[in-house]
Symmetry: C2
Subunit: 436 residues, 2 copies
């Protein structure tokens, strides 16, 4: 082909009357006998091309969806349809076999069984809605880093190969590390705390691993955790205040930069000035007395989370609610204790954030004094010796600190109203799935 202006589908409108070159996947082919319409898809969207030239027509008619082509032609105005490209040159860069799924038909793709969707992940990800999910996730990550960078947080990369678990040893994947036993990190918890001693404020976006046997719409065995940890806090309320501002920035960024993608899901980002809070004991009381909940004390079950969010949405207009003051016994050993109330069990300076019925964040203040941490470990029957590396930072001076983790896939699931986190992970891992 000649050296012609290369354009993208999304900019075709701006090139009316010009001869251009465009490259992309064949989205659809419509054979009308003496002409064919070939819709071409690239990174920016789709554009219709029309092939009438007899020497190209047979080739065009035989194009299979997803084949990769390079087309040359003139951009012509089409009444009511914007522009189309009248093709004078066509080259096939990669011919696709017959795709087993009609990727261009949203209703057919939406109706696929989850296993089919995931078994064919490399191609089902090519659909407009699947792409939109990961465009939004990328924007969330960008905005997360942008905001925390502005707030003097430093990005860190902590190891995922570790020698001990952070939560007491359950649900760890074991790795054969040169004949020794290693584990995959369940969270960057210990490392981000150590790094508070170095940088005061740190964040990390990275994979975490949970060897949980659950196979639900809320669980992944590998997921992306968006963590931050900050020093010199007064209580967990400083961590919460930071997150409220962070989420505002993230939602505003997604709203501004991903309007088209949100619209595909009919999704609206939450709008709020503050996020309501209540203590876990209050939440349980409310659920029991007003919302007909019959779950067990000590934590919220999925039904409790849904009912509570429905209630707060109705009462306050907010899609999010913080549940605070979890019992110390239901939190890891490093959770900062806080006095019990009404003679109840000891509580902790910890919180969960619920978003449209699902927990998307766990966080809190941590114990920062060495002796207190040692006592907390012993109180749980943990051997401090196992944690000697972690304990170093506390022996040698740590500020009061706290932090949280946001599950990226859960945040996207709730924002977009998607049925399962398996569809908000690019290549999800669950108890039955290690591929693609």
């Amino acid at each position: 082909m000649m050296s012609t202006l290369e354009i993208q589908a999304g900019s075709a409108e701006a090139h009316q009357g010009e001869t251009v070159k465009i490259r992309g996947h064949v989205h659809t082919v419509r054979d009308l006998g003496n002409l064919a319409f070939v819709v071409v898809r690239d990174q920016t969207g789709t554009v219709q091309t029309i092939v009438e030239e007899p020497s190209l027509l047979e080739m065009a008619k035989k194009l299979t969806p997803e084949s990769v082509v390079e087309l040359e032609g003139r951009v012509v105005a089409q009444p009511k349809k914007g522009v189309e490209i009248s093709v004078c040159g066509l080259e096939i860069l990669s011919r696709a076999e017959t795709v087993p799924i009609e990727l261009a038909k949203t209703s057919k793709v939406d109706a696929l069984a989850l296993t089919t969707m995931l078994d064919y992940r490399p191609i089902t990800l090519r659909t407009e809605k699947a792409r939109a999910i990961f465009i939004i996730e990328a924007e969330m990550c960008r905005a997360f880093r942008e905001y925390l960078g502005q707030q003097s947080f430093r990005e860190i990369h902590s190891p995922k190969l570790v020698s001990t678990g952070t939560e007491g040893g359950a649900n760890l994947f074991a790795v054969d590390y040169f004949g020794k036993r290693a584990y995959l990190a369940q969270s960057p918890q210990f490392y981000k705390q150590m790094m508070v001693g170095v940088f005061e404020r740190v964040f990390e976006i990275g994979p975490v691993y949970r060897a949980e046997q659950h196979d639900t719409t809320r669980h992944l065995n590998e997921y992306i955790s968006m963590d931050y940890e900050m020093g010199f806090i007064k209580s967990e309320q400083d961590v919460i205040a930071m997150q409220v501002r962070l989420l505002k920035h993230m939602f505003a960024s997604v709203s501004e930069n991903c309007a088209k993608e949100l619209a595909l899901f009919g999704a609206v980002v939450p709008k709020f000035e503050t996020i309501p809070q209540l203590k876990l004991a209050e939440a349980i009381e409310l659920l029991r007395t007003k919302l007909g909940w019959t779950g067990e004390d000590g934590d919220l079950d999925p039904e409790g989370e849904r009912l509570l969010c429905q209630y707060f949405l109705k009462e306050t207009g907010c899609d999010l609610v913080y549940v605070t003051h979890y019992p110390l016994s239901s939190r890891p050993f490093y959770a900062m204790p806080c006095p019990s109330e009404n003679g109840g069990a000891p509580l902790s300076h910890s919180f969960d954030l619920l978003f449209r019925g699902l927990e998307v964040t766990t966080g809190g203040q941590r114990i920062h004094l060495y002796q207190d941490l040692m006592a907390a470990m012993r109180g749980r029957g943990l051997d401090p010796e196992t944690f000697s590396d972690y304990l170093q930072c506390f022996r040698y001076g740590m500020p009061p600190h706290g932090g949280l983790a946001i599950g990226l896939e859960r945040l996207a699931k709730q924002l977009l109203g998607i049925s399962t986190v398996k569809l908000t992970a690019l290549f999800p891992r669950d108890i039955n799935r290690l591929g693609p």
Copy 2:
């Protein structure tokens, strides 16, 4: 304490005459009898405080380095030394045990044995030079994402738990995945290629794993790989051209935003308009005939990489050099073949980038046609069935594409002239080290 203006060490100069509060780690304490100097360190730097108040003096003299304190006092000008804070209030938030290393003395820290430095990583990371390394790495990551975002690359998160290796099965860490065998990903290679079929251009910064038994200054068993992959290229030269612009942006960003950190190492960022290139065969010829190298054919050894970089620095003033056209047999099966020269072995459209004597990038064009990829696998004795998930994207249309990976720790090592990559990873993993 009263509600006083809270400031950071780095901004003390701007508050002369004011009463302020400052929080941080005790950097050093100097006991002069009737007064004590306490240097306090926070995220922004250090500031000297002077304690003369009798009620605080004994407490100040007993402060241990790394203890976390909150100080209140008046900012007073000090001839020749900027400002110091005359302390009227002192609270200890966390008292440090006696630190076994004099962290404030750079020469003593620099002289530590590597194992000591790493065994005490949570506290040796608090030194100014160690912090500088990771400030620079964070800036490199930020600039990498910024530039590629501007070039229409999308960020992805690919799984690190995988069912097959990308390089043929060697050097994989095995994971017990619910009774099945999984591996830790050696690279996001297959996934970033699949995602080229989705987004055309993608990038990822994430951990990768190599179960190599090497224990050298160049190897880590877990490291941070900065990957990109791009569609619709004509050859590996498009991948190289993108990296040249990317590196310019990254180095310019580090130069602009991390001048103080660079200065600690006497480091200068490379300046270049283009980066010289030569074919591997030419490099070997040059090494043998002009540079006295006696290594083996087929690849460059560390000595060859050093000599080649010295030569190009002298000849062209450039700290970087691309070596291209590696033999096909020394590259993975997905490398795009290119014709052999002078009847030699088949070559590949691949390259390495050497920076001040060390390979920091491997990349190339990939095979994008299904049949060619199947043939390449069979030619290497690989069973395509093992790769059926990966092969999906090729069966259903893939553009010509290529990409590369930059090793973050190596890039920082070479930029700063640090002796080993173990010091440019926060918490390095090697054959003998799983902690801290």
